[in-house]
Amino acid sequence: MSDTHAQTVAFVRETQIPPAPPPATETGVIKWVRENLFSSWVNSILTILSIYFIVRGVIAVYPWFANGVWGTSDLATCRQILDGATGACFSVLQDRWRQMIFGIAYPDDQYWRPLLAFALLLVCVAPVLFSKLPRKLLILSALYPFLAYWLIWGGTIMIPIMVMVGFVAGYYAFTWAERASGFAAGLASFVVTASVVWFIGGLISGAMPGFIALQEVPSRDMGGFMLNMILGTICVSLSLPLGIVLALGRQSSMPIIKGICVVFIEFIRGVPLITLLFVANVVLAYFFPPGTNLDLILRVIIMITMFSAAYIAEVIRGGLAALPKGQYEAGDSLGLNYSQSMRLIILPQALKISIPGIVNVAVGLFKDTTLVSVISMFDLVGVLRGPILSSTAWTGIYWEAFGFAALLFFVVCYGISQYSQWLERQLRTDHR
């Protein structure tokens, strides 16, 4: 066989052909473009159209950015410099960024305090968000609310310390009474103990107003993006536990608790947030005796928290409803009591299912904080609509200021959304 073969075939290759690069159309950028942009004639048309519109958009917007004017002190000078050309007047940001971030009245030399509070927020919220960090850091997170209050509002450090002592004392009273005679007694003793400590603490801190005190800043002076961040952070972190309680209450077999939770949730969800804010601003003032002016921010926080808690409760109820009945029965069969089976079996699974919904509510809530501008609070939108856009220097400006506001909100909301996706991947235990 081999002989014939050797004689009939003119050439036999005895070495391997060196590997050639794949054809140009099957590799690299060209392949990617062919597959993703021009895979069929319909897609090709769509691609070309999209490119056309993108280019048109860039051409239209680019000079607005490129000709942007910085450093003028009012709009008229800005227009003179532009001299009829298209261009943004970014000077408004330069001139008024302090008011956009901190509001019009927060004292200039105290800006480091909210900034420090914000930096600490990132540090202290990390152990809550990332479970791989050492658990002991959670102490920081627990301390944070009191520290942040002291930093932002100022005054003596005794107030937050006393409030904290009240919580700690209440917690111990709760665990002691719960062990002795059940959950309800625990709750009652928490309230009683904490109130007593707060009352005494109020007397003590009232007696020493200068003890490690920062300059006091009244709530009215809070504003700008800082106010949005304050409202967003506080309301999200308060409404999450409240929402869990409401969701569990709605599932409760005790009719009164269930009734209260259902009425609360349905009532709050049936009322627009703006209405609640107007109630907070306008109506509540009539109910309090003159002189006891419950802080406006506090009233607003209560209203927004109630509002978002009702929504979060429904989201979590969805998570609870998605769990098979077997999970509840498994808890019972292990001999766990109610709070144990909730804490160890039901809630971890229900909350995991609810993450996208909760984040949705949180992002919406953060953006809803701008609604406080309608009750004449100077949050970021309020400060733009009121003092900045109605000032003699800057009336008539619009896109620059609101674009900046949109950018700030986008950064925060996008961050929250990215975190939630990461969290979902971390908690994924199935085999999809």
Binding site: D74, L75, A76, R79, D95, R96, R98, Q99, G103, I104, A105, Y106, D108, Y149, W153, G155, I159, V163, S195, W198, F199, G202, S205, G206, E216, P218, S219, R220, N281, V282, A285, Y286, F288, P289, P290, G291, T292, N293, L294, D295, I297, L298, V374, I375, S376, F378, G382, R385, G386, P387, I388, L389, S390, S391, T392, A393, W394, T395, G396, Y398
Partner: protein, 339 residues
């Protein structure tokens, strides 16, 4: 959030506090600051500058009252209010007085139970249109879309005007002046109507102010002035006579420049002496000291100076005195005598 808030919320001790009641003057003195309601921003009338310090024509009234009562024109807590929240803020006691471009009307005075303490600016509602529209009179505006701020008297005047002239319009409701400007210059409405002072102020900052005209018609009387709650006449008197002191000072030629000289000792003009407290006991009658009016005038000058510095012809706003000249110059600004 002060400690009283925390305690109040926790112990509801506040319920016992009750009966703080009528004496606004005592409240203000005890607090050490005057809570004065202003707009969230109207160019020239009330606006915080780049450092967050409130400036403007209405703001000057607040500062004058604070100076008269507390001796410090900066002892004012400015509470921004919108057209919707202003009256409840005053009625609920959140603010002691409102100096916010508020038109003195019968129903606000009588039905809402407020007391207007005078007029610091006589305004009237006008219309602004683009020149291209080719309109020379408001009566030609049949079928026009009109940008209008909600919750104001201008909204009602507009309806009255169009109804009495038998023509129709389509309102475009908006919340703040800056939004109105944006919509109007973008062409979302044919006509923008508000007080003529505001029209002039906003037009000054348009990209092309010459492309727009303010129509000659003045369709309403808008006497703007500070107001207080019914029921505390002593406080109302203080606000009223502080404003009158500024007006009288202009009439008598007392300015921020010469006031310290004039108030050194009693001069030849008895009314100036009574005003500045070098003679008589007018301050005492108000429950204040003798130099109350002097302090009020020293903060921002007399009425004419306040006008010139904030909205007068030398400013960007560029309003002429017009109706707001002293009565001696043919205007309506007139103060009862200090006697």
């Amino acid at each position: 959030m002060k400690k009283s808030v925390i305690l109040g919320a926790l112990t509801v001790a506040g319920l016992a506090a009750g009966a703080a009641g009528a004496a606004t003057l005592d409240d203000v003195k005890a607090r050490g600051t005057l809570n004065c309601g202003v707009t969230t921003g109207v160019p020239g009338f009330a606006e915080p500058d780049a450092n967050g310090v409130w400036q403007g024509f209405d703001v000057a009234v607040c500062r004058a009252v604070a100076a008269a009562v507390l001796g410090d024109g900066n002892a004012v807590e400015f509470v921004p209010t919108t057209g919707k929240t202003r009256f409840t803020a005053l009625a609920s006691g959140e603010i002691d007085m409102l100096a916010r471009n508020t038109t003195w009307t019968f129903s606000r005075d009588v039905d809402l139970k407020f007391e207007f303490t005078g007029v610091n600016y006589y305004d009237g509602q006008g219309f602004m249109v683009p020149k291209d529209l080719g309109v020379t009179s408001a009566k030609e505006l049949d079928g026009a879309t009109v940008c209008i701020q909600t919750g104001t008297t201008t909204e009602l005047n507009l309806a009255d005007f169009f109804r009495s002239n038998g023509i129709s319009y389509e309102p475009v409701p908006i919340e703040t002046g800056s939004e109105a400007v944006q919509l109007f210059t973008a062409g979302s409405c044919d006509v923008y109507t508000t007080d003529r002072s505001a029209l002039a102020a906003q037009r000054a900052n348009f990209a092309n102010p010459d492309d727009y005209v303010v129509l000659p018609e003045v369709v309403s009387k808008e006497p703007l002035g500070p107001l207080v709650r019914h029921g505390d006449h002593e406080w109302g008197d203080i606000v009223r006579w502080t404003l009158n002191a500024l007006i009288t000072a202009e009439e008598l030629g007392v300015t921020s420049d010469n006031i310290s000289e004039m108030s050194m000792e009693a001069g030849n003009n008895p009314e100036i002496n009574r005003l500045l407290g070098t003679e008589g006991t007018l301050g005492e009658m108000l429950g204040l000291d003798a130099e109350w009016a002097k302090r009020a005038i020293m903060v921002g000058g007399n009425y004419g100076e306040v006008f010139a510095n904030n909205i007068g012809e030398s400013t960007n706003i560029g309003l002429a005195r017009g109706l707001n000249a002293q009565w001696t110059d043919g205007g309506l600004i007139y103060s009862p005598p200090f006697r």
